[in-house]
Symmetry: C2
Subunit: 657 residues, 2 copies
Amino acid sequence: MKSAQDRWSRIYITSVEPRVHNGSWPIKRAIGQPVHVRAGAIVDGHDRMCAQLRITQIGGATEELMLTPSGNDEYTATFVPDSPGRYAYQVRAWVDRYGSWQHQFNRRREGGAPEEELQVELLDGAAILESYAANAPLAELTQIMAFVEAYRSGNVEAALDPKTMALVRRHDPQLGAVESEAIAVEVDHPLAACAAWYEFFPRSAADKDGQHATLDDAARRLPGIRDMGFDVVYLPPIHPIGYQFRKGKDNHPTARPDEPGSPWAIGTEGGGHTSVHEDLGGMEALDRFVATADKLGLRVALDIALQCSPDHPWVTSNPQWFRKRADGTIRYAENPPKKYQDVYPFDFECKDWRALWEALKNVFEFWMGRGINIFRVDNPHTKPLAFWEWCLARLKALDPNAIFLAEAFTRPKTMYTLAKLGFNNSYTYFTWRNTKDEIVNYVRELTRTNVVEYFRPNFWPNTPDILHEYLATGGRPAHISRFVLAATLSPVYGVYGPPYEHIVCVQHPDREEYADNEKYEIRNWNWNDPHSLQPLFARVNRIRRENPALQQLREIHFLNTRNPNLIAYYKVADANLVLCVVTLDPYQEQKGTLTLPLEAMGLADHTPFQLDDLLGGNNYIWQGRKHTIRLDPKVMPAQLYRVRKRMRTEADFDYYN
Amino acid sequence: MKSAQDRWSRIYITSVEPRVHNGSWPIKRAIGQPVHVRAGAIVDGHDRMCAQLRITQIGGATEELMLTPSGNDEYTATFVPDSPGRYAYQVRAWVDRYGSWQHQFNRRREGGAPEEELQVELLDGAAILESYAANAPLAELTQIMAFVEAYRSGNVEAALDPKTMALVRRHDPQLGAVESEAIAVEVDHPLAACAAWYEFFPRSAADKDGQHATLDDAARRLPGIRDMGFDVVYLPPIHPIGYQFRKGKDNHPTARPDEPGSPWAIGTEGGGHTSVHEDLGGMEALDRFVATADKLGLRVALDIALQCSPDHPWVTSNPQWFRKRADGTIRYAENPPKKYQDVYPFDFECKDWRALWEALKNVFEFWMGRGINIFRVDNPHTKPLAFWEWCLARLKALDPNAIFLAEAFTRPKTMYTLAKLGFNNSYTYFTWRNTKDEIVNYVRELTRTNVVEYFRPNFWPNTPDILHEYLATGGRPAHISRFVLAATLSPVYGVYGPPYEHIVCVQHPDREEYADNEKYEIRNWNWNDPHSLQPLFARVNRIRRENPALQQLREIHFLNTRNPNLIAYYKVADANLVLCVVTLDPYQEQKGTLTLPLEAMGLADHTPFQLDDLLGGNNYIWQGRKHTIRLDPKVMPAQLYRVRKRMRTEADFDYYN
């Protein structure tokens, strides 16, 4: 029979945070982002406790930290992962026998306990110290035993020696220690936590109108995209496009012979998910495109859509991977009564599912082998969640820097679950959150609830599938507001660039998407247009780079403006504080009264503070809580201020006098 | 190798509620209290799902219910346990293959799909039906196969026959079904969820001043306590009281020979935790007391304090159960520099801990054997949590109707953990929550957070240890307010009766407790005093019995009164709605404006409604949201109204004209 201490413990760990879904799924961090661990632990009576945090990098080293009591039986500690991959952290707690004894001994002394009592208690202290000595190396053993002797000889002063605690703490036999379950942490590349994405169709990158561009043409657009300050260049699928049931312009059920088809109808006899469209210049052109991006400091993201055109090689080589109808034909995609005859979904439940899953995983591995490890995954919610859980775990073991963006526009539980089981970034409802209440409530859900631990929003004001009515009717002011909101509310955001920067506002008559949709035809864009939003993109992305407050998601605070058309918030990271004010009315000037919570912002009521107008380039001095704000959407619908907590020296202010 | 469906599932169960601490601890219900189960479950794509709730009584029957979709991938069902003990519930979900097929078939038909398409799909439907038939008994097999034939012969009408679904649902092979973990439910006796407790010292029950009463004297007080409407009579410890270091009047360190000592200093050579004090009449008097209570419909609760006086028989028979100091003496209770020499705590970690734990459990079992199964446990937080977890599980297996009240006035995590690991009722901070904000916030914490699933508050306005300054200075009005608050905010409450009903307001000069504390001396009380609060106790307890709204904890809604000294709330259970208005100012009249949320209360803005004044016996007609309220503490500091949602007939209102 084991000793009592091995069988039960006086300590109960009541909670360990952060964690996701009771610890079933990892919390997410990027390299350099701290994990603030908070544990609750209790013990009966008045004894003190030691609590330790143990952080293990899977396949790597283990680190140990002591947690600090923060009151009310809570303990805290922070660790900052410095390399990507999977970690686990765990809390261990035990009764601090020596510490409890010393604390009580001091209280006895201070309470005026008689000398006889202190002498008796010293003997107890000696016994505890002696039990610790067994774990100590020889040199320290000698020191501890010297204390034991001093206690035994009745030396009260020795019991108060602060050196003892430091000496013995690490030799505590930790009798009756308890451990929490281990909680997983997934540590990602920093771009998973902060990045600006730019989407464009490479086939539209030609100089000549209507011409099908190659990836070499597209590579010539990269310096411009870099100059606009983007981090990730995301390309819709670049594979051969099927012929059968090819869609024409504006999703017409039949295509004219010269129409290029939708890039999401993947595969011809010439190749499938691991081939590059001939008209894009083939695999070598892609390699050159990636190399150019690399040189510019840009990262390339590919779109992986796990579906086939009827011409995909797998349709003939592996017909068992597709669902058949009772008449023997392969079942095309449909959501009755809608039919998508140009697309065959895979049958993830087919008898040969293991080979199919392996083949699909190999698609990602193929591109990872060519230097691409950022993927936008098309419609992951129409494939089994178990497939993603299996596939992403293996791909991340292969490359812990890989980033997967889930393009799931579906119900909340599915979107959140996809994030839990491994997607590093997620499309969101941001596109449809246009009023102040909608934005505030949604951003609070993403930042103030446990969602922030695993779901990294990637805010897109538009996509090839979505041109919201607000943008279509609001024109240039609406485009500016929504861009600034996306880029400042969320550290990860993206834009389907060309039509956005040229403020294309023509909606399809029946659908919430662009008319003359680039998905079905080649468009021609002006790639260097100073009257477009390109300069705004460049400016806002530079502001993001220069202000750490905008590179994080958690510290965002909405402010009262006394006007439902004016949204204001500040974000803060250490000394950096950025204040954003945006009008949601693209038509009329709006006026409001901004109330600043000065204490929370680290400002004083009676001291002026300086605001650097980051979009306008001006500077202001404000003082006090209430400020009138006025935004004319025709002039500038958004204001970004860096708030300086300390005034500059007077010499800096000559322009102000 | 198992089939794909046995290896992975398309369904993820994302949440199952209610549960406590990730399901580690049971949720609590009393017999007849419903468990509203809410589960989240998702599947890829557009398929439909079946979700089933399985409820198992441990050692009993299993019941199965279908959960109903309530939108947004949530499913709900309710079960009502009808006998005490431990239950487990579990959610099971699977893809509804036939239901999904039929739904899509209907959409095809309604969408005008061509006949050929429907014919092909019918064959798929036939295959699904046929796979279900394997599980059906012969009679139903024949019916299902008739449908299979009809489908195969292209009979579109057969596919729409609503009979099919009812016929086949229960034969679904449930391929790829997933199950949540099982969640435990502890079902208690109804008195655990709703009861009024009355505490008194039986030794003070004599008619003659200063005389030590017996339990037979005390039994003569029971009809009066029953008439005041209490459910549980709680007695402080009734065991022999130690002599060594016996405390005198007012906790004096020494007692005069005629002083009775504190009942919590348990044990003499004559007996310990399973004996009854000779002066109380011994065991036979207790048996008679319990029998009298039984006849009156009252339940007796005993106080179990796991500690010994130095004279307790165990001190000599089992000295190994106590901690020794280095000089060989037994360590008395202390919190340096405070000493409690009249009490020896047990050493729960001693080498002989198994025998000690067993002996302590046997104390409860002994009294359960004498017909007592309600226990107020003294200071459980100074004993190991693991002991309580072990002990309570065994005692409840013995008697699932047993009720344990934790007297733990300590930090929140420990109080909540004691409730999680088995205590059915808990003392609370109510005694120290006297302002409106304090009361509202505390009651919300207890009723609007997950705490409500496991922590059953037992609200006490006073105890022998606590006479709060608010009561001491506020006199009769404060006593009435606090009593009404305790009895209406919480369905379980208690009062240390005699000094409360006689409005004893003399505090000990140094401590927050009664002067001339009954813990250390015999008091004499007037047991039938119409000028005491006894008539109020009777009235309020009758109101509680007559109004189900006051017998539950969850449906409590605080109302705006525009006055911090006036607290108002309503409680509701089905058609019963009780409105409570209490003044927190025991000195001056307070006036406020009550705003009623009429829709939420089930009332209409333009229809008058009737209020029965339950304390005053009047009736009122109100209309609209805003009502002026005025409470004069000298007249009556609390108002309780039953709000009638429907007006009585006009004939009932003649008094009103």
